[in-house]
Subunit: 125 residues, 2 copies
Amino acid sequence: LTNISGSSEYFERGVVTYSNKSKMELLGVPQKTLEEYGAVSMQTARAMAIGIKDRAKVDIGISTTGIAGPTGGTKEKPVGLVYIGIAALKNTEVKRFLFSKDRLQNKEKTCHKALELLLETITKW
Amino acid sequence: LTNISGSSEYFERGVVTYSNKSKMELLGVPQKTLEEYGAVSMQTARAMAIGIKDRAKVDIGISTTGIAGPTGGTKEKPVGLVYIGIAALKNTEVKRFLFSKDRLQNKEKTCHKALELLLETITKW
């Protein structure tokens, strides 16, 4: 997002919320959502996208949450599981992906997919 | 910082504060500091590092602020100018760098230098 000169004209802020505490403090994700569904869930991704959009007072909020790996996977939530949320005005969408076992590839693919979803969103605007 | 599996055990949060508004809201950088010295300054880098450390309640806060380029440079603040701040407990240090004219190289070098300063800091601990 910020590899292009002048990106400060459209990118307002981002938050990298590794801890649950930071997800609650910086994005307003309800503790109940984190406890019931976990940090890597459709519900958390949804709350994160809405949270950044509302707090930054911008048009579009994007969130990603996943198990990048190689450790941290479980049977229900395997390595490579990623949710990407896009909150745009009144409409919020969350998509589920199952990428690879490779951490850097997962980070790369997540970025790529998120930008793709952003492009779709602003194309439909 | 998060390219290594298990990084959530030591990385609590990050904020990407492209706008001055987000620097004030998320890091508590005083408006006066931004107006007097600008976003790319030793004073702002200092306030950012202290801000993230205090708000996240962690041991070490790192900040970077600079002109990545290729646009946005001035005579006083040329492309490649970067300040990196490290706030650790009672001691805050800010260093000034003049990297290249290339945006991606500047981002890369800034990351690398910041990690180097972090390593120095925890080595002296």
